[in-house]
Symmetry: C2
Subunit: 114 residues, 2 copies
């Protein structure tokens, strides 16, 4: 099993979490993970319209900030949200970000679709 | 009166707001503004330990993301949080970020001060 670097709960920092969330593609990844619980990195990549290298970068940013937890199983990387950690450290943050994103998507779609 | 660029409410984007908040100095500025209501940029600079040029950069990032609203009065720039806009667009976000920061500061101080 290959090792992946990811911070212990007490090493998660607010500014790093916010920076990790501050990107439309990463917000999309987080939203999917919130819905599905856990994803295989490669499978998730197939449904998001960015290059695999770019996607790997986004996964790393999320993981290193402590937003996601990655488990390596053979050739697969299973990714899930660290919801318990984030909710304990920054209560309400993840929920408000996810709700804000849903609202933003709905508003933008409403404007773009006459 | 010089003009400053700042987005209309409907042009504020979640990813930009998160990016603006994703910095310890900017979090400190936001926390102060939340406490005081409004600040003169220069006065605020005196109490935060970074160079004025760096501080001007941070103010610009906050303003252009729609986190703060700046009013130019003579040679002063008065800055305040766009709390109503942010609370309407992303309910709970600003509060969870501010609470998370307070908690983080308290925890870090407790560890560093035996």
């Amino acid at each position: 099993m290959r090792e992946v670097t990811q911070p212990a709960t007490e090493a998660i920092r607010l500014a790093e979490v916010l920076r990790a969330l501050a990107d439309p593609v990463r917000l999309e990844i987080v939203q999917r993970l919130d819905r599905t619980g856990q994803e295989n990195c490669t499978a998730l990549g197939g449904e998001i319209d960015v290059h695999q290298t770019t996607l790997s970068h986004h996964y790393r940013v999320l993981r290193e900030a402590g937003v996601t937890w990655t488990t390596v199983q053979g050739r697969s990387r299973l990714v899930r949200l660290r919801r318990n950690d984030l909710d304990a450290l920054f209560p309400g943050l993840l929920d408000s970000v996810l709700a804000g994103r849903m609202r933003e998507i709905a508003t933008t779609s409403a404007i773009e679709t006459p």
